[in-house]
Symmetry: C2
Subunit: 91 residues, 2 copies
């Protein structure tokens, strides 16, 4: 069964995203991708580590990608380069 879901990390507390992650696995997902940009990257790593280590659910970090995205600034209209991360969790 191929069933992949993506969680985007934003401004909410870390545990909200951990819970979202655990819920997806409970509901039968084989893998979850955690994505974040800019300053949220640290939080994405926290979410992955808590989901894997504190809740021993049998999932593990399978792959990590980092990349650069171009984001248009709302204030100046300039294109800014922002780093992004994708953490693949699976069983």
């Amino acid at each position: 069964m191929q069933n992949t879901n993506t969680i985007f990390i934003g401004q909410k507390p870390v545990m909200n995203y951990v819970l979202a992650c655990l819920t997806l696995f409970q509901n039968g997902s084989d893998s979850v991708i955690i994505k974040a940009r800019g300053r949220a990257i640290s939080k994405a790593v926290d979410v992955a580590q808590i989901a894997v280590k504190r809740f021993a659910t049998g999932m593990d970090v399978k792959k990590i990608n980092i990349d650069t995205e171009q984001v248009k600034s709302n204030e100046t209209g300039n294109l800014n380069n922002v780093s992004s991360i994708e953490i693949y969790l699976g069983k």
Copy 2:
């Protein structure tokens, strides 16, 4: 030639670490490991992306590890879990 150096990301501006990274490669390092903890993780990803993409030096991201470290708080003496990242750059 096995020659690996590690750069720890802290409070300084991003370009300081990028320069350190490029200098290590100029001086003959085959690979550089970029390490960071907590909030500096985002900066570590920025450093890796700038070193690889803006300065086309032939190096690339080979591997990324994330982990959890226990750090003793100076104020309370409690052990806190802190996420960490290691980004391996090589040719």
